[in-house]
Protein backbone atom coordinates (compact mmCIF):
# COMPACT_ATOMS: atom_id res chain seq x y z
CA UNK A 1 0.00 0.00 0.00
CA UNK A 2 1.20 3.47 -0.81
CA UNK A 3 1.70 5.70 2.15
CA UNK A 4 -0.73 8.62 2.17
CA UNK A 5 0.49 11.55 0.15
CA UNK A 6 2.41 14.22 2.03
CA UNK A 7 3.92 17.34 0.60
CA UNK A 8 7.69 17.16 0.59
CA UNK A 9 9.45 19.80 2.69
CA UNK A 10 12.84 21.19 1.92
CA UNK A 11 14.03 20.82 5.51
CA UNK A 12 13.91 17.39 7.04
CA UNK A 13 12.04 17.34 10.34
CA UNK A 14 10.43 20.62 9.39
CA UNK A 15 7.51 20.24 11.78
CA UNK A 16 9.79 19.56 14.69
CA UNK A 17 12.08 22.47 13.97
CA UNK A 18 9.15 24.82 13.42
CA UNK A 19 7.66 23.69 16.72
CA UNK A 20 10.91 24.22 18.60
CA UNK A 21 11.39 27.64 17.07
CA UNK A 22 7.88 28.75 17.97
CA UNK A 23 8.20 27.44 21.50
CA UNK A 24 11.49 29.22 21.93
CA UNK A 25 10.10 32.44 20.50
CA UNK A 26 7.13 32.20 22.86
CA UNK A 27 9.29 31.56 25.90
CA UNK A 28 11.85 34.24 25.42
CA UNK A 29 10.01 36.93 23.46
CA UNK A 30 6.25 36.65 23.67
CA UNK A 31 5.82 35.75 27.34
CA UNK A 32 7.99 38.60 28.69
CA UNK A 33 6.27 41.07 26.37
CA UNK A 34 2.88 39.76 27.40
CA UNK A 35 3.82 39.94 31.07
CA UNK A 36 4.89 43.52 30.59
CA UNK A 37 1.62 44.40 28.89
CA UNK A 38 -0.41 42.66 31.60
CA UNK A 39 1.54 44.47 34.27
CA UNK A 40 0.82 47.71 32.48
CA UNK A 41 -2.85 46.86 32.07
CA UNK A 42 -3.07 46.22 35.81
CA UNK A 43 -2.22 49.85 36.44
CA UNK A 44 -5.28 51.15 34.68
CA UNK A 45 -5.28 53.84 31.99
CA UNK A 46 -5.54 56.77 34.36
CA UNK A 47 -2.54 55.95 36.52
CA UNK A 48 -0.61 54.80 33.46
CA UNK A 49 -1.12 58.16 31.86
CA UNK A 50 -0.17 59.96 35.08
CA UNK A 51 3.10 58.02 35.27
CA UNK A 52 4.17 58.44 31.67
CA UNK A 53 3.13 62.09 31.45
CA UNK A 54 4.92 63.13 34.63
CA UNK A 55 7.47 65.86 33.80
CA UNK A 56 10.40 63.66 34.70
CA UNK A 57 9.24 60.79 32.49
CA UNK A 58 8.44 63.12 29.59
CA UNK A 59 11.90 64.67 29.88
CA UNK A 60 13.47 61.20 29.90
CA UNK A 61 11.55 60.17 26.76
CA UNK A 62 12.45 63.42 25.02
CA UNK A 63 16.14 63.03 25.85
CA UNK A 64 16.19 59.38 24.79
CA UNK A 65 14.46 60.06 21.49
CA UNK A 66 16.55 63.13 20.68
CA UNK A 67 19.84 61.43 21.45
CA UNK A 68 18.82 58.32 19.53
CA UNK A 69 17.83 60.46 16.57
CA UNK A 70 21.20 62.25 16.62
CA UNK A 71 23.05 58.95 16.91
CA UNK A 72 21.03 57.41 14.07
CA UNK A 73 21.57 60.33 11.71
CA UNK A 74 25.28 60.11 12.42
CA UNK A 75 25.38 56.35 11.95
CA UNK A 76 23.26 56.48 8.82
CA UNK A 77 25.91 58.60 7.14
CA UNK A 78 29.02 57.25 8.81
CA UNK A 79 27.92 53.61 8.60
CA UNK A 80 27.16 53.93 4.89
CA UNK A 81 30.52 55.57 4.30
CA UNK A 82 32.25 52.86 6.30
CA UNK A 83 30.56 50.04 4.36
CA UNK A 84 31.52 51.79 1.13
CA UNK A 85 35.15 52.25 2.12
CA UNK A 86 35.46 48.67 3.34
CA UNK A 87 34.22 47.35 -0.02
CA UNK A 88 35.44 49.76 -2.64
CA UNK A 89 38.95 50.62 -1.53
CA UNK A 90 42.09 48.60 -1.05
CA UNK A 91 44.38 49.82 1.71
CA UNK A 92 46.64 48.42 4.37
CA UNK A 93 44.88 47.37 7.51
CA UNK A 94 41.55 47.01 5.75
CA UNK A 95 40.95 43.57 7.23
CA UNK A 96 41.72 44.83 10.71
CA UNK A 97 39.34 47.73 10.27
CA UNK A 98 36.70 45.32 9.03
CA UNK A 99 37.15 43.17 12.13
CA UNK A 100 37.11 46.23 14.40
CA UNK A 101 33.67 47.06 13.04
CA UNK A 102 32.27 44.27 15.22
CA UNK A 103 33.88 45.45 18.44
CA UNK A 104 30.79 47.36 19.59
CA UNK A 105 28.82 44.10 19.25
CA UNK A 106 31.31 42.13 21.29
CA UNK A 107 32.38 44.66 23.88
CA UNK A 108 30.42 44.69 27.14
CA UNK A 109 28.48 47.95 27.00
CA UNK A 110 29.77 48.95 30.44
CA UNK A 111 33.33 48.74 29.13
CA UNK A 112 32.36 50.90 26.17
CA UNK A 113 30.72 53.41 28.51
CA UNK A 114 33.74 53.56 30.79
CA UNK A 115 36.27 54.05 28.03
CA UNK A 116 34.16 56.70 26.27
CA UNK A 117 33.81 58.54 29.57
CA UNK A 118 37.55 58.37 30.14
CA UNK A 119 38.29 59.66 26.65
CA UNK A 120 35.80 62.51 26.65
CA UNK A 121 35.99 63.69 30.26
CA UNK A 122 37.64 67.09 30.78
CA UNK A 123 41.08 65.54 31.26
CA UNK A 124 40.69 62.66 28.74
CA UNK A 125 42.46 62.63 25.35
CA UNK A 126 39.53 64.02 23.38
CA UNK A 127 37.90 65.91 26.22
CA UNK A 128 41.09 67.91 26.81
CA UNK A 129 40.64 69.38 23.32
CA UNK A 130 36.84 69.61 23.17
CA UNK A 131 36.23 70.94 26.66
CA UNK A 132 38.30 74.14 26.37
CA UNK A 133 36.72 74.69 22.93
CA UNK A 134 33.36 74.92 24.68
CA UNK A 135 32.05 71.52 23.53
CA UNK A 136 31.45 69.48 26.65
CA UNK A 137 30.47 65.92 25.82
CA UNK A 138 30.41 64.07 29.10
CA UNK A 139 27.25 64.69 31.16
CA UNK A 140 25.41 66.19 28.18
CA UNK A 141 23.00 64.84 25.60
CA UNK A 142 25.95 64.67 23.19
CA UNK A 143 27.56 62.14 25.45
CA UNK A 144 24.40 60.05 25.36
CA UNK A 145 24.24 60.27 21.58
CA UNK A 146 27.91 59.35 21.38
CA UNK A 147 27.44 56.22 23.45
CA UNK A 148 24.37 55.26 21.42
CA UNK A 149 26.22 55.83 18.14
CA UNK A 150 29.15 53.74 19.31
CA UNK A 151 27.06 50.74 20.23
CA UNK A 152 24.76 50.78 17.20
CA UNK A 153 26.98 51.63 14.23
CA UNK A 154 27.65 47.98 13.26
CA UNK A 155 23.94 47.52 12.54
CA UNK A 156 24.17 49.96 9.64
CA UNK A 157 27.54 48.77 8.34
CA UNK A 158 26.68 45.09 8.51
CA UNK A 159 23.31 45.40 6.80
CA UNK A 160 24.53 47.62 3.97
CA UNK A 161 27.80 45.78 3.33
CA UNK A 162 26.47 42.50 1.88
CA UNK A 163 23.98 44.25 -0.38
CA UNK A 164 26.65 46.56 -1.70
CA UNK A 165 28.94 43.60 -2.20
CA UNK A 166 26.32 41.67 -4.16
CA UNK A 167 25.59 44.58 -6.46
CA UNK A 168 26.35 43.69 -10.06
CA UNK A 169 29.33 45.85 -11.15
CA UNK A 170 27.74 45.92 -14.60
CA UNK A 171 25.05 48.26 -13.23
CA UNK A 172 27.58 50.97 -12.54
CA UNK A 173 29.41 50.24 -15.78
CA UNK A 174 26.15 50.56 -17.68
CA UNK A 175 25.57 53.94 -16.04
CA UNK A 176 29.08 55.03 -17.05
CA UNK A 177 28.57 54.12 -20.70
CA UNK A 178 25.29 56.04 -20.62
CA UNK A 179 27.23 59.13 -19.60
CA UNK A 180 26.59 59.25 -15.85
CA UNK A 181 29.16 61.04 -13.67
CA UNK A 182 30.19 59.51 -10.32
CA UNK A 183 27.69 61.51 -8.27
CA UNK A 184 24.82 60.60 -10.57
CA UNK A 185 25.89 56.95 -10.48
CA UNK A 186 25.79 57.00 -6.71
CA UNK A 187 22.51 58.86 -6.27
CA UNK A 188 20.60 57.23 -9.11
CA UNK A 189 21.98 53.70 -9.29
CA UNK A 190 23.94 52.63 -6.21
CA UNK A 191 21.96 54.32 -3.47
CA UNK A 192 18.50 53.17 -4.62
CA UNK A 193 19.83 49.62 -4.74
CA UNK A 194 21.06 49.65 -1.16
CA UNK A 195 18.22 51.85 0.15
CA UNK A 196 16.08 49.03 1.63
CA UNK A 197 19.02 47.52 3.49
CA UNK A 198 20.19 50.93 4.61
CA UNK A 199 16.75 51.84 5.96
CA UNK A 200 16.57 48.53 7.77
CA UNK A 201 20.00 49.04 9.29
CA UNK A 202 19.16 52.57 10.41
CA UNK A 203 15.91 51.50 12.03
CA UNK A 204 17.55 48.69 13.97
CA UNK A 205 20.29 51.10 15.02
CA UNK A 206 17.61 53.55 16.21
CA UNK A 207 15.73 50.86 18.13
CA UNK A 208 18.96 49.68 19.69
CA UNK A 209 19.82 53.24 20.70
CA UNK A 210 16.45 53.69 22.41
CA UNK A 211 17.15 50.65 24.56
CA UNK A 212 20.86 51.21 25.21
CA UNK A 213 21.62 51.43 28.90
CA UNK A 214 25.03 50.14 29.97
CA UNK A 215 27.18 52.40 27.84
CA UNK A 216 25.10 55.50 28.53
CA UNK A 217 24.82 55.55 32.31
CA UNK A 218 28.56 56.13 32.67
CA UNK A 219 28.83 59.06 30.31
CA UNK A 220 25.44 60.71 30.84
CA UNK A 221 25.74 61.90 34.41
CA UNK A 222 22.09 60.91 34.80
CA UNK A 223 20.71 64.24 35.94
CA UNK A 224 16.92 64.09 36.02
CA UNK A 225 15.37 66.41 33.40
CA UNK A 226 18.72 66.86 31.69
CA UNK A 227 20.59 63.65 30.99
CA UNK A 228 18.39 60.92 32.37
CA UNK A 229 17.30 58.36 29.78
CA UNK A 230 14.02 56.43 29.88
CA UNK A 231 15.61 53.03 30.46
CA UNK A 232 17.45 54.40 33.49
CA UNK A 233 14.27 55.95 34.86
CA UNK A 234 12.56 52.56 34.63
CA UNK A 235 15.51 51.04 36.45
CA UNK A 236 15.30 53.67 39.21
CA UNK A 237 11.57 53.04 39.64
CA UNK A 238 12.30 49.34 39.96
CA UNK A 239 14.93 49.98 42.62
CA UNK A 240 12.29 51.96 44.49
CA UNK A 241 10.05 48.87 44.30
CA UNK A 242 7.66 50.90 42.11
CA UNK A 243 6.97 48.01 39.70
CA UNK A 244 4.04 49.79 38.09
CA UNK A 245 6.07 52.87 37.37
CA UNK A 246 8.84 50.78 35.82
CA UNK A 247 6.39 48.75 33.76
CA UNK A 248 4.61 51.83 32.43
CA UNK A 249 7.85 53.41 31.23
CA UNK A 250 9.04 50.12 29.76
CA UNK A 251 5.73 49.77 27.92
CA UNK A 252 6.20 53.13 26.26
CA UNK A 253 9.68 52.11 25.15
CA UNK A 254 8.21 48.87 23.81
CA UNK A 255 5.60 50.89 21.93
CA UNK A 256 8.32 53.02 20.33
CA UNK A 257 10.20 49.91 19.28
CA UNK A 258 7.12 48.28 17.73
CA UNK A 259 6.18 51.45 15.84
CA UNK A 260 9.76 51.64 14.57
CA UNK A 261 9.69 48.07 13.34
CA UNK A 262 6.40 48.72 11.60
CA UNK A 263 7.70 51.88 9.95
CA UNK A 264 10.89 50.10 8.96
CA UNK A 265 9.00 47.27 7.34
CA UNK A 266 6.73 49.66 5.47
CA UNK A 267 9.72 51.66 4.24
CA UNK A 268 11.53 48.54 3.12
CA UNK A 269 8.44 47.25 1.40
CA UNK A 270 8.12 50.53 -0.43
CA UNK A 271 11.81 50.72 -1.32
CA UNK A 272 11.82 47.16 -2.64
CA UNK A 273 8.49 47.36 -4.49
CA UNK A 274 10.21 46.77 -7.83
CA UNK A 275 11.30 43.32 -6.71
CA UNK A 276 7.70 42.15 -6.91
CA UNK A 277 7.32 39.64 -9.67
CA UNK A 278 4.37 39.95 -11.96
CA UNK A 279 1.95 37.22 -11.22
Amino acid sequence: MDPPFRAKRVLPGFTLSLGTTLLYLTLIVLIPVAALILKGAEIGPERFWRIVSSPRAVAAFRITLTAAAIATVFNAIYGLLMAWVLLRYEFRGKRILDALMDVPFALPTAVAGLSLTALFSANGWFGAVLHPAGIPVVYTIWGIALAMAFTSVPFVVRTVQPVLEDMDPALEQAAVTLGARPWAIFTRVVFPTILPAWLAGCTIAFARSLGEFGAIVFIAGNLPFQTEIAALLAFIRLEEFDYNGAAAIALVLLGFALVLLLVSNLLQYWAARYREDSR
Binding site: L171, T177, L178, G179
Partner: protein, 368 residues
Protein backbone atom coordinates in the same frame (compact mmCIF):
# COMPACT_ATOMS: atom_id res chain seq x y z
CA UNK B 1 32.50 55.75 -36.88
CA UNK B 2 35.56 53.84 -37.96
CA UNK B 3 37.54 52.11 -35.23
CA UNK B 4 41.24 51.41 -35.50
CA UNK B 5 42.93 49.28 -32.87
CA UNK B 6 46.65 48.60 -32.90
CA UNK B 7 49.01 46.55 -30.75
CA UNK B 8 46.59 46.54 -27.85
CA UNK B 9 47.80 44.59 -24.81
CA UNK B 10 46.28 44.04 -21.42
CA UNK B 11 47.25 41.92 -18.47
CA UNK B 12 45.45 41.15 -15.25
CA UNK B 13 48.04 40.26 -12.64
CA UNK B 14 50.05 37.42 -14.14
CA UNK B 15 47.74 36.62 -17.07
CA UNK B 16 48.16 38.18 -20.49
CA UNK B 17 44.55 38.66 -21.47
CA UNK B 18 45.18 40.59 -24.69
CA UNK B 19 48.45 39.96 -26.49
CA UNK B 20 48.66 42.47 -29.29
CA UNK B 21 45.32 43.07 -30.97
CA UNK B 22 45.21 44.76 -34.37
CA UNK B 23 41.77 45.37 -35.78
CA UNK B 24 40.06 47.88 -38.01
CA UNK B 25 36.32 48.26 -38.21
CA UNK B 26 34.70 50.31 -40.96
CA UNK B 27 31.95 52.83 -40.37
CA UNK B 28 28.59 51.10 -40.30
CA UNK B 29 30.08 47.63 -40.26
CA UNK B 30 28.67 44.76 -38.20
CA UNK B 31 31.52 42.69 -36.81
CA UNK B 32 31.37 39.59 -34.62
CA UNK B 33 34.06 38.67 -32.10
CA UNK B 34 34.03 34.90 -31.92
CA UNK B 35 36.12 32.86 -29.55
CA UNK B 36 36.15 30.38 -26.70
CA UNK B 37 35.61 31.36 -23.10
CA UNK B 38 38.44 33.37 -21.62
CA UNK B 39 39.91 34.47 -24.94
CA UNK B 40 39.61 38.15 -24.03
CA UNK B 41 36.52 39.16 -26.00
CA UNK B 42 34.81 40.99 -23.16
CA UNK B 43 38.05 42.68 -22.19
CA UNK B 44 38.53 44.01 -25.71
CA UNK B 45 34.96 45.28 -25.78
CA UNK B 46 35.38 46.98 -22.41
CA UNK B 47 38.55 48.70 -23.55
CA UNK B 48 36.71 50.09 -26.56
CA UNK B 49 33.97 51.30 -24.22
CA UNK B 50 36.41 52.84 -21.75
CA UNK B 51 35.49 50.52 -18.90
CA UNK B 52 39.00 49.03 -18.91
CA UNK B 53 42.29 50.56 -19.94
CA UNK B 54 44.96 48.77 -21.98
CA UNK B 55 48.58 48.51 -20.85
CA UNK B 56 49.81 49.53 -24.28
CA UNK B 57 48.56 50.06 -27.80
CA UNK B 58 46.32 52.55 -29.54
CA UNK B 59 42.60 52.99 -29.94
CA UNK B 60 41.68 55.58 -32.54
CA UNK B 61 38.13 56.36 -33.57
CA UNK B 62 37.64 58.75 -36.47
CA UNK B 63 41.11 60.24 -35.96
CA UNK B 64 40.48 60.86 -32.24
CA UNK B 65 42.61 59.13 -29.62
CA UNK B 66 40.01 57.45 -27.45
CA UNK B 67 42.50 56.47 -24.79
CA UNK B 68 42.45 60.16 -23.84
CA UNK B 69 38.67 60.13 -23.56
CA UNK B 70 36.63 59.17 -20.50
CA UNK B 71 34.03 56.45 -20.97
CA UNK B 72 31.24 58.96 -20.34
CA UNK B 73 32.35 61.05 -23.29
CA UNK B 74 32.60 58.27 -25.85
CA UNK B 75 28.87 57.99 -26.56
CA UNK B 76 29.01 54.20 -26.72
CA UNK B 77 26.01 51.96 -26.55
CA UNK B 78 27.00 48.95 -24.47
CA UNK B 79 24.70 45.98 -24.01
CA UNK B 80 25.80 43.75 -21.16
CA UNK B 81 25.64 39.99 -21.18
CA UNK B 82 23.14 39.89 -18.32
CA UNK B 83 21.44 43.10 -19.42
CA UNK B 84 22.38 45.14 -16.31
CA UNK B 85 19.02 46.90 -16.30
CA UNK B 86 18.51 49.18 -13.32
CA UNK B 87 16.21 47.05 -11.17
CA UNK B 88 14.60 49.95 -9.30
CA UNK B 89 13.59 51.83 -12.43
CA UNK B 90 10.64 51.14 -14.69
CA UNK B 91 11.31 50.26 -18.31
CA UNK B 92 10.57 53.89 -19.21
CA UNK B 93 13.09 55.23 -16.69
CA UNK B 94 15.68 52.71 -17.83
CA UNK B 95 15.27 53.85 -21.42
CA UNK B 96 15.43 57.50 -20.42
CA UNK B 97 18.45 57.15 -18.13
CA UNK B 98 21.09 58.14 -20.67
CA UNK B 99 19.17 61.34 -21.45
CA UNK B 100 18.06 62.36 -17.96
CA UNK B 101 21.56 61.92 -16.59
CA UNK B 102 23.04 64.55 -18.88
CA UNK B 103 24.16 67.87 -17.37
CA UNK B 104 21.35 70.41 -17.34
CA UNK B 105 22.75 72.37 -20.26
CA UNK B 106 22.78 69.34 -22.56
CA UNK B 107 19.64 67.66 -21.28
CA UNK B 108 16.62 67.59 -23.57
CA UNK B 109 13.33 68.93 -22.20
CA UNK B 110 11.14 66.51 -20.25
CA UNK B 111 8.60 66.31 -23.05
CA UNK B 112 11.32 65.59 -25.61
CA UNK B 113 12.68 62.76 -23.48
CA UNK B 114 9.20 61.30 -22.96
CA UNK B 115 8.55 61.38 -26.69
CA UNK B 116 11.89 59.73 -27.39
CA UNK B 117 11.10 56.97 -24.90
CA UNK B 118 7.68 56.37 -26.48
CA UNK B 119 9.34 56.14 -29.87
CA UNK B 120 11.85 53.62 -28.54
CA UNK B 121 9.17 51.51 -26.86
CA UNK B 122 7.34 51.38 -30.16
CA UNK B 123 10.49 50.58 -32.10
CA UNK B 124 11.38 47.81 -29.64
CA UNK B 125 7.82 46.44 -29.92
CA UNK B 126 7.32 46.60 -26.16
CA UNK B 127 4.92 49.56 -25.94
CA UNK B 128 2.74 47.78 -23.38
CA UNK B 129 5.64 47.17 -20.99
CA UNK B 130 6.71 50.75 -20.31
CA UNK B 131 5.62 50.80 -16.68
CA UNK B 132 6.96 47.41 -15.64
CA UNK B 133 10.10 46.85 -13.64
CA UNK B 134 12.87 44.67 -15.09
CA UNK B 135 12.03 41.85 -12.65
CA UNK B 136 8.64 41.60 -14.34
CA UNK B 137 10.03 41.01 -17.85
CA UNK B 138 11.05 37.88 -19.72
CA UNK B 139 14.64 37.41 -20.84
CA UNK B 140 13.92 38.43 -24.41
CA UNK B 141 12.04 41.53 -23.28
CA UNK B 142 14.90 42.52 -20.99
CA UNK B 143 17.29 42.14 -23.88
CA UNK B 144 15.21 44.54 -25.94
CA UNK B 145 15.09 47.08 -23.12
CA UNK B 146 18.86 46.81 -22.67
CA UNK B 147 19.37 47.48 -26.35
CA UNK B 148 16.85 50.31 -26.30
CA UNK B 149 18.56 51.94 -23.34
CA UNK B 150 21.83 51.86 -25.26
CA UNK B 151 20.22 53.21 -28.43
CA UNK B 152 18.54 56.10 -26.57
CA UNK B 153 21.75 58.11 -26.48
CA UNK B 154 22.13 57.65 -30.25
CA UNK B 155 25.50 55.99 -29.87
CA UNK B 156 28.22 56.32 -32.43
CA UNK B 157 29.27 52.74 -31.77
CA UNK B 158 27.21 49.84 -30.47
CA UNK B 159 28.95 47.12 -28.46
CA UNK B 160 27.09 43.97 -27.47
CA UNK B 161 28.54 41.36 -25.12
CA UNK B 162 26.93 38.00 -25.86
CA UNK B 163 23.61 39.70 -26.40
CA UNK B 164 21.65 36.46 -26.75
CA UNK B 165 23.74 34.27 -24.47
CA UNK B 166 21.06 33.69 -21.86
CA UNK B 167 18.11 33.10 -24.18
CA UNK B 168 16.64 29.94 -25.64
CA UNK B 169 17.24 28.95 -29.24
CA UNK B 170 13.94 30.12 -30.74
CA UNK B 171 14.11 33.58 -29.19
CA UNK B 172 17.76 33.84 -30.17
CA UNK B 173 16.88 33.33 -33.79
CA UNK B 174 14.12 35.95 -33.64
CA UNK B 175 16.24 38.52 -31.88
CA UNK B 176 19.13 37.88 -34.24
CA UNK B 177 17.04 38.82 -37.23
CA UNK B 178 15.66 41.76 -35.32
CA UNK B 179 19.15 43.00 -34.34
CA UNK B 180 20.20 42.84 -37.97
CA UNK B 181 17.18 45.05 -38.72
CA UNK B 182 18.11 47.46 -35.96
CA UNK B 183 21.63 47.68 -37.32
CA UNK B 184 20.37 48.45 -40.78
CA UNK B 185 17.95 51.05 -39.45
CA UNK B 186 20.47 52.89 -37.28
CA UNK B 187 23.57 52.34 -39.38
CA UNK B 188 25.79 52.42 -36.30
CA UNK B 189 29.13 50.66 -36.28
CA UNK B 190 28.48 47.51 -34.28
CA UNK B 191 30.69 44.92 -32.61
CA UNK B 192 29.15 41.96 -30.88
CA UNK B 193 30.68 39.15 -28.91
CA UNK B 194 29.54 35.58 -29.15
CA UNK B 195 30.84 32.08 -28.85
CA UNK B 196 28.15 30.71 -31.10
CA UNK B 197 29.52 30.25 -34.63
CA UNK B 198 26.13 30.10 -36.27
CA UNK B 199 25.18 33.40 -34.70
CA UNK B 200 28.42 35.06 -35.70
CA UNK B 201 28.24 33.96 -39.31
CA UNK B 202 24.56 34.61 -39.78
CA UNK B 203 24.64 38.11 -38.38
CA UNK B 204 28.02 39.65 -39.10
CA UNK B 205 29.62 41.17 -42.18
CA UNK B 206 32.97 39.96 -40.89
CA UNK B 207 33.90 37.55 -38.15
CA UNK B 208 36.98 38.01 -35.97
CA UNK B 209 38.10 34.74 -34.40
CA UNK B 210 39.95 35.27 -31.13
CA UNK B 211 42.01 32.79 -29.20
CA UNK B 212 44.14 33.33 -26.12
CA UNK B 213 44.24 37.09 -26.37
CA UNK B 214 45.08 37.26 -30.05
CA UNK B 215 43.21 37.50 -33.29
CA UNK B 216 43.56 34.17 -35.03
CA UNK B 217 41.70 34.99 -38.22
CA UNK B 218 39.39 37.56 -39.76
CA UNK B 219 37.01 36.71 -42.56
CA UNK B 220 33.53 35.68 -43.64
CA UNK B 221 31.88 32.34 -42.94
CA UNK B 222 33.16 30.56 -46.05
CA UNK B 223 36.75 31.69 -45.70
CA UNK B 224 37.01 30.71 -42.05
CA UNK B 225 35.19 27.44 -42.61
CA UNK B 226 37.19 26.35 -45.65
CA UNK B 227 40.57 27.87 -44.94
CA UNK B 228 41.20 28.05 -41.22
CA UNK B 229 44.41 30.01 -40.69
CA UNK B 230 45.66 28.04 -37.70
CA UNK B 231 45.06 24.69 -36.03
CA UNK B 232 43.27 26.63 -33.31
CA UNK B 233 40.72 28.02 -35.76
CA UNK B 234 40.35 24.62 -37.42
CA UNK B 235 39.58 23.01 -34.07
CA UNK B 236 37.27 25.81 -33.06
CA UNK B 237 35.37 25.41 -36.31
CA UNK B 238 34.71 21.78 -35.56
CA UNK B 239 37.64 20.01 -37.20
CA UNK B 240 38.22 17.85 -34.17
CA UNK B 241 39.93 14.92 -35.89
CA UNK B 242 43.68 15.42 -36.09
CA UNK B 243 45.76 12.78 -37.87
CA UNK B 244 49.50 12.69 -38.51
CA UNK B 245 50.48 12.56 -42.19
CA UNK B 246 53.68 12.82 -44.19
CA UNK B 247 54.20 15.48 -46.84
CA UNK B 248 55.80 14.42 -50.10
CA UNK B 249 56.19 17.05 -52.80
CA UNK B 250 53.11 18.95 -51.71
CA UNK B 251 50.89 15.92 -51.19
CA UNK B 252 49.90 14.41 -47.87
CA UNK B 253 50.13 10.65 -47.40
CA UNK B 254 49.34 8.23 -44.62
CA UNK B 255 48.67 4.52 -44.31
CA UNK B 256 44.99 3.70 -44.66
CA UNK B 257 43.98 7.29 -45.50
CA UNK B 258 42.82 8.46 -48.90
CA UNK B 259 43.93 12.09 -49.05
CA UNK B 260 43.89 12.55 -52.81
CA UNK B 261 41.03 15.06 -52.85
CA UNK B 262 42.90 17.50 -50.62
CA UNK B 263 44.57 20.27 -52.60
CA UNK B 264 48.37 20.39 -52.81
CA UNK B 265 50.10 22.53 -50.25
CA UNK B 266 53.48 24.14 -50.47
CA UNK B 267 54.86 22.52 -47.36
CA UNK B 268 58.33 21.03 -46.95
CA UNK B 269 58.56 17.25 -47.02
CA UNK B 270 58.21 15.70 -43.60
CA UNK B 271 55.62 15.33 -40.85
CA UNK B 272 52.38 17.32 -40.93
CA UNK B 273 48.86 17.03 -39.59
CA UNK B 274 45.51 16.93 -41.26
CA UNK B 275 42.51 18.47 -39.49
CA UNK B 276 39.05 17.29 -40.53
CA UNK B 277 35.47 17.41 -39.30
CA UNK B 278 33.90 14.08 -38.31
CA UNK B 279 31.31 14.39 -41.10
CA UNK B 280 33.98 14.98 -43.75
CA UNK B 281 35.59 11.58 -43.21
CA UNK B 282 34.11 8.80 -45.32
CA UNK B 283 34.63 5.23 -44.13
CA UNK B 284 35.16 2.59 -46.85
CA UNK B 285 34.91 -1.11 -45.96
CA UNK B 286 38.12 -2.82 -46.95
CA UNK B 287 39.18 -6.22 -45.57
CA UNK B 288 42.82 -5.14 -45.88
CA UNK B 289 42.25 -1.69 -44.33
CA UNK B 290 44.26 -0.85 -41.21
CA UNK B 291 41.44 0.98 -39.36
CA UNK B 292 39.30 -1.04 -36.92
CA UNK B 293 35.92 0.12 -35.68
CA UNK B 294 36.01 0.14 -31.90
CA UNK B 295 32.67 1.73 -31.16
CA UNK B 296 29.46 2.57 -32.94
CA UNK B 297 26.59 4.71 -31.66
CA UNK B 298 23.56 6.03 -33.45
CA UNK B 299 21.61 9.25 -33.04
CA UNK B 300 18.97 8.12 -35.53
CA UNK B 301 20.14 10.04 -38.58
CA UNK B 302 23.84 9.44 -38.18
CA UNK B 303 26.18 6.77 -36.98
CA UNK B 304 29.09 7.94 -34.90
CA UNK B 305 32.04 5.61 -35.31
CA UNK B 306 35.30 5.55 -33.43
CA UNK B 307 38.11 3.83 -35.31
CA UNK B 308 41.64 2.94 -34.32
CA UNK B 309 44.75 2.70 -36.42
CA UNK B 310 47.81 0.90 -35.00
CA UNK B 311 50.12 3.90 -35.72
CA UNK B 312 47.94 6.95 -36.37
CA UNK B 313 45.73 6.69 -33.30
CA UNK B 314 41.97 7.13 -33.07
CA UNK B 315 39.54 8.95 -35.33
CA UNK B 316 35.92 9.80 -34.74
CA UNK B 317 33.54 10.21 -37.65
CA UNK B 318 29.88 10.63 -38.55
CA UNK B 319 28.26 8.77 -41.40
CA UNK B 320 24.62 8.58 -42.53
CA UNK B 321 22.95 5.53 -41.00
CA UNK B 322 20.94 4.82 -44.15
CA UNK B 323 24.03 4.67 -46.36
CA UNK B 324 24.46 1.45 -48.30
CA UNK B 325 27.66 0.47 -46.53
CA UNK B 326 26.33 1.19 -43.06
CA UNK B 327 25.39 -2.43 -42.49
CA UNK B 328 28.98 -3.57 -42.42
CA UNK B 329 30.03 -0.77 -40.08
CA UNK B 330 30.08 -3.05 -37.08
CA UNK B 331 32.57 -3.41 -34.31
CA UNK B 332 35.94 -4.78 -35.37
CA UNK B 333 35.28 -4.29 -39.10
CA UNK B 334 38.33 -3.22 -41.14
CA UNK B 335 38.17 0.10 -42.96
CA UNK B 336 39.99 2.66 -45.01
CA UNK B 337 39.16 6.34 -44.57
CA UNK B 338 38.73 8.94 -47.26
CA UNK B 339 39.16 12.53 -46.11
CA UNK B 340 36.69 14.48 -48.27
CA UNK B 341 37.62 17.80 -46.81
CA UNK B 342 40.35 18.92 -44.45
CA UNK B 343 43.21 21.28 -43.81
CA UNK B 344 46.88 20.41 -43.56
CA UNK B 345 49.14 22.15 -41.07
CA UNK B 346 52.87 21.59 -40.68
CA UNK B 347 54.38 19.99 -37.59
CA UNK B 348 53.58 16.77 -35.81
CA UNK B 349 51.73 15.97 -32.65
CA UNK B 350 54.65 16.38 -30.29
CA UNK B 351 55.79 19.51 -32.07
CA UNK B 352 52.61 21.24 -33.15
CA UNK B 353 52.52 24.22 -35.41
CA UNK B 354 52.41 27.44 -33.41
CA UNK B 355 48.76 28.15 -32.83
CA UNK B 356 49.06 31.86 -32.41
CA UNK B 357 51.26 33.03 -35.25
CA UNK B 358 49.28 32.91 -38.45
CA UNK B 359 52.12 34.53 -40.43
CA UNK B 360 54.14 31.33 -40.03
CA UNK B 361 51.54 29.31 -41.84
CA UNK B 362 52.13 29.18 -45.61
CA UNK B 363 49.18 30.23 -47.71
CA UNK B 364 47.05 27.62 -49.37
CA UNK B 365 48.37 26.90 -52.81
CA UNK B 366 46.06 27.75 -55.65
CA UNK B 367 45.01 24.60 -57.45
CA UNK B 368 45.15 25.05 -61.22
Amino acid sequence: MAISISHLTKRFGQTDVLRGIDLGVEKGELVALLGPSGSGKTTLLKIIAGLEWPDSGRLVVDEADWLQLAAQDRRIGFVFQHYALFPHMSVRDNLAFGLTVRPRSARPAKAVIAAKVEELLHFLQISHLGDRYPAQLSGGQRQRVALGRALAIEPSILLLDEPFGALDAAIRRDLRRWLRGVHEATGSTTIFVTHDQEEAFELADRVVVMGEGQIAQIGDADAIHDHPATPFVARFMGATVELPVTMQSGRARADGLDLTVLPRRALPDGPAQVFARPEDIIPQPDPAGPWRIISRTSNGANLRLVLRHPDLGEAELDTPRRAVAADCMIADASMRLRIAFGTIFPGDRRNPAPASEPENIPQLEKTP
